[in-house]
Symmetry: C2
Subunit: 340 residues, 2 copies
């Protein structure tokens, strides 16, 4: 009898761990393989960065409310964000596309309009890919190649005790945007004559539908002369991604609820949907902001950058991440995050 182990018994992270355990780089120019936002390749003068992601209709996006142009933009931005998270400069991207015959040529045009716009915004070239047919909706994979000066690379596993923890932009918006869009979809499905109630919610909707990769901050850190001691992009959520940094660096962290940057619209949407705004900020993914650490000496150099918020610091308590709440209690964070 063959053994059959269900993937669900391991979970997604368990499966990935199992896969990764058996894989070891062997080439001298593979500086870093699996386990960071991008693989790192020694190109001599510089490091090359290589990353890839896949997005499936019905799993990662819902085309009943996701405009194809925005989807194209978001997928390129997601690839770029992984390069940004290494403190790198993206250069080239490739796209694989699988389409069912439900899609028209005009729909494909829309998707590529969004991709081309993102390529222009982030100054990258779309240099290749594969187009094929699908029996099950739209599937897109993106790969991105970038470069970084060797001394400027930021890994996940190099945070040091007493480093300061920073995030860019604001958190939880993409998650709240998704909740609102899904609510409106339910309303519409129940009664197609209902108009969507999204007035005054444009910012969080945009956070979901058209996120930006924070290349602006990568450039501003360079101008400020600051190299993050570690960095990751916030695709899974602050709690989960901070735990990655801590686990891989062998450190802990303390973050302060009152320091979490949350937009007014995120607060309003959270209140309307009865979700804690801090929960959205901690657990909500897809913000594509950067989470990074800097040494204390960098504080003066970036404290006036309005795009950067100091949310806590790194400790030597390996793997322990603690949230100091507004009510002054201390709550351990898990990958599932924190429920107020």
């Amino acid at each position: 009898m063959e053994t059959r182990t269900e993937i669900s018994s391991l979970g997604e992270f368990g499966l990935i761990q199992r896969i990764n355990k058996g894989i070891r780089p062997t080439l001298p120019d593979t500086v870093r393989g699996i386990g960071d936002d991008a693989a790192v390749i020694d190109l001599g003068e510089e490091f090359g960065l290589l990353t890839t992601d896949m997005f499936l209709e019905g799993i990662h996006f819902d085309l009943t409310f996701f405009p194809l142009k925005h989807l194209g933009y978001k997928i390129i931005a997601a690839g770029i964000s992984d390069i940004a998270a290494m403190n790198g400069i993206p250069r080239q991207v490739t796209i694989n596309l699988a389409l069912s015959n439900r899609f028209s040529v005009e729909a494909v045009d829309e998707l590529y309009e969004g991709m081309k716009l993102a390529c222009k915004d982030f100054n990258v070239d779309l240099v290749g890919g594969d187009t094929t047919s699908s029996r099950s909706g739209l599937i897109i994979s993106v790969s991105a190649f970038g470069k970084v000066k060797k001394e400027k690379i930021a890994y996940r596993n190099t945070a040091q005790p007493n480093d300061l923890l920073c995030v860019t932009g604001d958190l939880g918006g993409a998650y709240m945007g998704l909740q609102l869009l899904e609510r409106e979809k339910q309303v519409f499905m129940a009664n197609p004559n209902m108009q969507p109630e999204l007035d005054g919610k444009d910012y969080v909707i945009q956070r979901q539908l058209r996120p930006e990769a924070r290349m602006d901050v990568v450039y501003e850190l360079e101008e400020a002369g600051v190299i993050p001691t570690s960095m990751i992009d916030l695709s899974d959520g602050l709690a989960s991604d901070l735990l990655h940094i801590c686990a891989q660096s062998g450190v802990g962290a303390v973050i302060f609820e009152e320091r979490l940057p949350i937009d007014e619209q995120t607060y309003l949407a959270a209140s309307e949907l009865n979700i804690g705004a801090a929960t959205a900020a901690l657990n909500g993914g897809e913000d594509y902001e950067l989470l990074f650490t800097v040494s204390q000496s960098a504080y003066e150099l970036i404290k006036n950058n309005p795009k950067i918020t100091f949310i806590g610091y790194i400790t030597d308590k390996k793997g322990e991440v603690e949230l100091h709440t507004k009510g002054d209690s201390r709550v351990p964070l898990t990958a599932q995050g924190w429920n107020a």
Copy 2:
């Protein structure tokens, strides 16, 4: 009213042409974007090569007869083959995987066993990727990064009149292997007690299930001091891929039926299934052999390499590809190939 144009009205190549028309590289280090086996990136001393492909269950492979270990191997080999087709050396690959819960952990292990074996055989590192869930079977995308010395790169669009046309290995085997496997599947579905009749067909079955990327020939050309004047890998089929070289180089070609390298098992299977062996060689895809041109002066340097067959030559008749049959007639080749 919005216009709706069906993708089928353009066809796969038409759609790809439409997409590509609107995409132009803008960065100085993008040497070659869409339109070759891999994108070419200027790394200073050398060129970097970047390529990607996607494979979907039910479209590109049938798991009722495709062992997962072989599938893993084949997908890595397909990525490597695109690097080989630029006369490059593959270094790193990434894999994205989408799985439905029909797959067990053991099945995923099998798939990765095949990938790891291919990585070892082709001396590349598996450096990253994404694992996600799917509602519709198995989807895999592969990206490969490689390098090539600038003076050694082989493009598709640089064949010259009077160059000699070469192929590696033999042709049509992967296609005949697929036909046999599909026949046995039909037999089995009609009567599950029937045993498969695949005795003496191991070579063509292997050509379908476990193709090799021809890195061996890339290294042997280097040892011989020969740089192909153009090159492409045979994934779509000789006719289609030769037409790519001719169209992109602005040249024509003459090939000789009697020169087509076809294995004995391919002949036997073709005869058994009432398919012309030359048709299989011309139209059958997935052989992952290399089709390349060399200047006449290279002839002496590689004529004794048993892996290389000279099948014809390049002419100045733009876009015209002619097959000289064994019966001494001359037949124009189209992308759909040739039916004897």
